[in-house]
Subunit: 285 residues, 2 copies
Amino acid sequence: MMLELHQLIQLIAIAECGTISAAAEQLHLSQPALSRSMQKLEEALQVPLFDRQKNKISLNQNGVLAVEQARRVVEQAQNMVEQVRAFERSQRTISIGSCAPAPLWELVSLVSRLYPTMAISSEMQEIQTLQTGLKSGEYQLIILPFAITEADFYCVAFEREQLYFSLPPAHPLSDAQSLSFRDLDGQIVLLLSQIGFWRDVCREKMPGTRTLVQERQEDFEELVQASALPFFVSDLAMKWSGKPENRMVIPISDPEATAVYYFLCKKEDKKKLSALIQQITTEEF
Amino acid sequence: MMLELHQLIQLIAIAECGTISAAAEQLHLSQPALSRSMQKLEEALQVPLFDRQKNKISLNQNGVLAVEQARRVVEQAQNMVEQVRAFERSQRTISIGSCAPAPLWELVSLVSRLYPTMAISSEMQEIQTLQTGLKSGEYQLIILPFAITEADFYCVAFEREQLYFSLPPAHPLSDAQSLSFRDLDGQIVLLLSQIGFWRDVCREKMPGTRTLVQERQEDFEELVQASALPFFVSDLAMKWSGKPENRMVIPISDPEATAVYYFLCKKEDKKKLSALIQQITTEEF
DNA sequence: CACAATTACGAGGGTCGTAAAAATG
DNA sequence: CATTTTTACGACCCTCGTAATTGTG
């Protein structure tokens, strides 16, 4: 005779339900089946767990202890299942964290082509979170707007993004060859919420600006069409989605309007990601 | 599908044996049965655990993690079995510790009459060990040669033992009415090894005496018959085993030759042992 | 060719559910 | 009389072992 997990789960159910009948129902099992199963458990333990009166059954002191112990065993087993599943999942997914949306467009497409069997999970996060996440293994690779030198990290330039103002033709500054953040500071500007670290740049360089932040892409598009408000575009955004219609696109001259994205991964993962790294370092962006 | 303990045990066996065949043999199982069982396990976990080459099987990374986790689960389960069994055993046994053999004769017989369903385990131990053992629950009741007052303990006098010298008639002191330890100090004395704290009394009161210590009762009896050496008896010993033949029995006058044994148990156990305590406190010894 | 793993298949053991019995409030 | 537990019994699922297949060193 062998102790089995399902018996422990049943024991716990009985402890929680009070009667065998109730527990059997909860377990989608017939009453007699559960009754016999508990007899088997007592047999396996070689210890009586219940006080049996013809009509009623209740845990004796052994039973109370056994339930307590069984909870630990079952918890440990559930823990095992979770851990193994999580590990397996992590084995076949590449988690990407980025400080901005644009690099993901290129990177996700690249990764999915190079590692077609892998699942890809990508998200935007605070720069600090990205770094600790890379260290902890939450991310296999991250995109930062600057290079960092850390012993465990491999770091290489990935691509460049240039920010532009998008202005309606009627806008007083729409014929400028170039503008700075200051030129539009104080005006109302349309913004998408999911723009990562650009949000911080915006706050810093245009502190007097009221921003209309749109959560949803569609709402943003709607407002772009309907309003004459300025907003931001970038070379990468236009490469992927095209130039905004009926708009003047004017480069922003501040150095902060140009981002160079760096690709980072753990050095121990360099081998696994070698195909990707090769692609990045050789490809022309 | 349900994770089961026997599958985890099998997984561990495979990890330890290296091949399914070897593990199957160790588990007294056929090779195909074990092979299928592991397929079921992978199904239950929804995670592949093995690298399968037509002819060879080996744990993959998931498998290595799973084995590690499985060990914990199985260990926890074994631990559960042990704990529950130990508890059950402790429930139906009364453990008695004594500083000397004589009180056990009466006490064990008393306990076995009063609690016929209980198993009795009795042993002699150092006084210090007895006290800590009572506190830790290793003993339900102990016998000490003195009373102690401790908050958690219930303490009551149990019985009295008076020590005698047993001398051959030809011994120079054999006609004395009474003797002290000093009177025989320096002579050779026969001793049984299992006499508990009397051994300490002996060492202290007769420091110059060489003792011939016999481990086995039969050897002791043999020497008693064959030699003319003095040895000890007590009123309780004589009550249970009779007077030694062809010997003079002479009381020892030192106060240390009289022991008053005290019965101690945890106050929380007083109720369980009430029948015994009633017997002890009312009975005349 | 010995050895290892998987697949196929029939036998047997074990567990299930239904039905019945016994006991209790 | 409803509720709860246990026993009895037949059905069925599941796992086992044997045998056969495939592949490897």
